[in-house]
Symmetry: none
């Protein structure tokens, strides 16, 4: 089984947007045992899209087209499919009803331009959109199935899972490509590469590769086998070996986040958390509350951006700030203690630092961060020093991850709270 | 002048990496007056790459291929070009010397596998790589120039500028494509499409298209002209017309965020802000502090996730929560008032709602949000109702944007704080 992903949009050809939809689809298709042989991106022009659909249909069993299903004149994918299959567009009453219902749920009448979204080539099937106005379309070109999905990632992903994943998996029926990702934090990609060097040799099955993003290292394994069971067995053996070598550097699997893992540990241990953030400005709380159900263990957060806020909200003595500076071990410690007392939580994590791009001094450069962690067992601080040439966003993002990872290690008892030490970025 | 960008790599077809090189090249080519008609991505297989190069050479004046020039066996682009131009690979002494020199600069001997990087098809030209080992290659297929560049973005970009930008600009002979994006919030994409329908007709110059992402609508304009000055003039006239029609729906340009615009307004007016967040859990504070220099106007944030936190931290009466529920106009109002008093800020924005996926009731479904805004002029609340099928992430993200947009309109005096009204998502 082969598939080709086609993305549409002038914004892609002008470089204003990067096509992430094709990568997402490719990952899912590989998991379902389908080889993606090509990605193609074309502009908002029905003739060009039709031509590429027809070419792709010669080479693939599935063609998945994203984008161009909106209500505006630059949305040309419906027309393109009509041209490719040689059937005119006609309004589909079921789709129209669904679009009207979508607007009704929001207490609005359907704007007239949205009516065009109910049109599809005769003989094609509509694919209901559970979270937007644009229905997808499924058509057939010879032996090839062509599926049109919206370009909005959340809608595209939901519709792929709802309408396409099942039929594609069934049709692929057998030779499986299974993938598995372990997610690590606490050392660099090259260090992890060295720890796994012999497993990463080309030609090995499962193949292993690494990726790095804001301090999180993904170790990806992909195994092929004639039967899913054989591939799964291979994958599991290699994953076990990787875990054995990397130990607590591995924090999770798949798309698990550090916040999810920390949340799971807090819930399991029946403990609560509060946060006191300065330079991360609420990002750590945002990460914790990204997880549904986080109200079970997350009590509150304080974003004490101004010094006065640190004093008034967290009882950090103004003299302490004057003496050591807001970015110091002493202030991080006082923030964590004040936060834990005010919130009445089991754990309180604090962060203060210089995210840049300005505000650094020779003594306290951009990238210097102090974390504090107060718990029933005491309080500790840790210093982070990120490369000052990193962007503000990277410094903040990595700081959030490093703070959550420290909490994870403490909850795992792998880090001793009473022995502060410098975490290596 | 037309160009096609081809990227190579199994990691792209497996969805493990997103192709950002084609977007970068497309932006640069547009600036040089070249229309990019397609992006194609193929795997690490010489035959497949050769086939796509040959097809692209039929349709474009320039074909730019990235990736597959490394020293390992999965680097197949050199072979592919040899196959496409019909000339065998041969070692190029100049390139070999440059690779050896590159290693010598690092105090190392060239590892034997790197020698293969000096090979190129007879009749093609090497393109020196100033910051890596892989030379590029320039070849000719009929009227089409094919350039091979490494996949590492920093090397690819440096080599494009050094070897290709000049000749391409010269060949394009001045014809310029300029782009401009206006960013809008407060209505749907179809409504904006209707307001601009006549400007969005195909064939118009500048062309106009829209994109939507989490409630933010991008209106993209791109103008072509024989001279950059002519294109710039056209672009400016259309942008002015779009702004006239959309009014305060337009919040910014390019990649400006609502948080940047709100921050700019607060700074200009010398006002300060504090935030009280429940369901957004710190995301609004994160968005505000994403902006460097936000400490000038942002004082503090409270993430009052638990009801007890709302009472203790923001003085929201427990009886009020018991009577109306935590997600209510009354509680949003009390949160905003309490936040403003505690923080001593000019403005205080509060948010409470049900982000889901669980926690909804028939009366208060997932997606119901109340915003509160306290200011020197009084306090008001607004209700948002997002589609309950949206993801937790989308509901939270759109709520952050809607809150910031309300504050923007108040700061612009375009929204009357004392007349609460339902904001249409």
């Amino acid at each position: 089984m082969r598939a080709i992903c086609i993305s549409t949009g002038n914004e892609l050809l002008l470089g204003q947007t990067v096509d992430a939809n094709s990568a997402w689809l490719s990952r899912r298709l590989a998991e379902l045992g389908v080889i993606v042989s090509e990605h193609r991106t074309v502009g908002d022009e029905a003739g060009a899209i039709a031509r590429v659909i027809l070419q792709a249909a010669q080479e693939a069993d599935w063609v998945i087209v994203t984008g161009g299903l909106g209500p505006t004149p630059d949305d040309q994918t419906r027309e393109a499919l009509a041209e490719a299959v040689g059937s005119p567009l006609a309004e589909d009453p079921t789709s129209l009803a669904q679009i009207e219902e979508y607007f009704a749920r929001m207490g609005r009448a359907m704007p007239p331009p949205n009516r065009v979204q109910a049109r599809l080539p005769k003989g094609c099937q509509p694919l209901a959109n559970p979270c937007g106005t644009a229905p997808g379309i499924l058509g057939r070109l010879g032996r090839c199935q062509a599926a049109l999905l919206p370009g909005v990632p959340s809608e595209m992903e939901a519709m792929f899972e709802q309408h396409l994943a099942g039929p594609i998996a069934e049709a692929a029926g057998g030779r499986a490509i299974l993938t598995h990702t372990l997610r690590c934090f606490g050392t660099g990609e090259s260090q992890i590469g060295a720890m796994l060097a012999d497993l990463m040799q080309t030609g090995r099955n499962p193949a292993i590769g690494t990726t790095a993003s804001e301090g999180v290292i993904g170790v990806r394994l992909w195994a092929t086998g004639d039967l899913p069971e054989a591939a799964r067995q291979l994958l599991q053996e290699s994953a076990t070996e990787v875990r054995r070598r990397l130990g607590v550097l591995v924090f999770g699997e798949g798309d698990q986040t550090l916040a999810e893992v920390v949340g799971g540990l807090l819930r399991k241990r029946g403990k609560t958390l509060a946060l006191a953030e300065s330079c991360t400005g609420g990002w750590m709380a945002k990460a914790i509350t990204d997880v549904a159900g986080s109200s079970d263990y997350f009590l509150r957060g304080y974003v004490t951006y101004a010094n006065q806020a640190k004093t008034e909200v967290l009882d950090v003595a103004a003299e302490l700030i004057a003496l050591h500076g807001a970015v110091s071990s002493e202030v991080a410690e006082a923030m964590a203690i004040g936060c834990r007392e005010r919130a009445g939580s089991d754990y309180a994590l604090s962060v203060t630092g210089i995210a840049g791009p300005t505000g650094g001094t020779p003594d306290k450069p951009v990238g210097l961060i102090w974390l504090g962690l107060a718990s029933p067992d005491g309080v500790a601080t840790r210093e982070l020093r990120w490369n000052p040439t990193l962007s503000r966003e990277s410094i903040r993002s990595r700081t959030v991850q490093a703070g959550l990872n420290w909490l994870r290690l403490v909850l795992l008892d792998a880090a001793n709270l009473n022995q502060p030490k410098k975490v290596r970025p």
